[in-house]
Symmetry: C2
Subunit: 255 residues, 2 copies
Amino acid sequence: MQAIQLREKIAKGEFNKSTAGFCQGNVQANMVILPKKYAKTFEEFAKKNAKAIPVLEIIKDSHYSTLLAKNANLLNELPSYNIFENGKIIKTVSDISEYYEEDFVFFLIGCSFTFENSLVNSGIQLKHVAQEKNVSMYNTSIKLHGVGEFEGEMVVSMRPIKKDRVADACVITSHYPNMHGTPIHIGYPEMIGIKDINKPDYGDYIEINEDEIPVFWPCGVTPENVLKKIKLPFAITHNPGHMFVSDKKDSDYYV
Amino acid sequence: MQAIQLREKIAKGEFNKSTAGFCQGNVQANMVILPKKYAKTFEEFAKKNAKAIPVLEIIKDSHYSTLLAKNANLLNELPSYNIFENGKIIKTVSDISEYYEEDFVFFLIGCSFTFENSLVNSGIQLKHVAQEKNVSMYNTSIKLHGVGEFEGEMVVSMRPIKKDRVADACVITSHYPNMHGTPIHIGYPEMIGIKDINKPDYGDYIEINEDEIPVFWPCGVTPENVLKKIKLPFAITHNPGHMFVSDKKDSDYYV
């Protein structure tokens, strides 16, 4: 399926699950929507924390992407959105047209799904893809660099990797610096403040086999965790794992 | 100190410790010496296990290096040698002239000391270097590909790396495929058959701090472990950590 076809299905309400493993080879993006008055500070915050929040495109004065997918409507071409009020998710919806305000600024943010194709092509098995599940994601104790009202801790995605391929996974993902790049941590969940690896804070639980090591990458869900912490009056994000599937190719972001 | 000066000191018996951290920027090599009748099979064995036994130079009909250090005498320009008979170390000596036979074949093998300079230059602390100790090395349960009489398990070197630099260490060492390249394993010593991380089988004990993860690279001491297992009638190796310091630069092997 082409990305444009998937986005059409999503807009029609015919696809509402995680986009993990779909349109392989196409860049997927996280999204954060903020009222204009917070946008400049958030942009700075993202720059200071680019490994967790790598901004690919900023859209002002419109709700259509230009760079990642020409004319894609950001109000209904993602499968699921979270509406935030004062740091709480008040609703999860598949269309945000009724919430739209002209002063909205849309941030499209790099996603680790982008490098999954490269991992799989190198013979590294990814169980959440094989099982058509969402990736496991966790809140951590890794502190972000604060800017203005924005501060908090990093969210990570976790993939169990066979022990003899962990170093390869580091090398492969290093070629995607705009998609979180190398792992932020390897093994030992407790060292980054994850108390129970069997209970992800977002996404699905994926079993870690005896010959596998949990490998953690910075995650584009980080802004959602920040919004909760700082209790911003209003914001919209994608629902974790339910990404914006763009027309850009993974290889466009290979460095 | 230039490598040629260090080798002169070694030949005179004025330097007899681990070469770890000396002549930084110069390639250091492991050495295996075998009677000619075993050399061809060992060469094949090394090729099949190139990550553990990357051969840099083979010297026949002479005991002088050509490629790694022109005219360096391999009989006394390493600080320490182990003499093997039937798989047992019968003696550790600083000069092997009296054991020399004309049918000896010398194998110089890549060493992970080569990439340590790149790690340190990237701000990754290496405690064994800072403490002027030998690196920690361990026998493992990682099976080698057998060829003829040669078979056995891999030896690894271990460096404790700060948790947020482990992925960087993988990427940096991937540029030295002839010097063991990327780690073979990260964390969890028991997964590769290491029962007590506090008791290295070779080299010095290096403490692992709370914010560090033990990272394991294939090690050029692997052939020594193989010789012990298969009880070869006669062989000589360098004494682990007491390497051949060559005139080649690390950057010559950067890929």
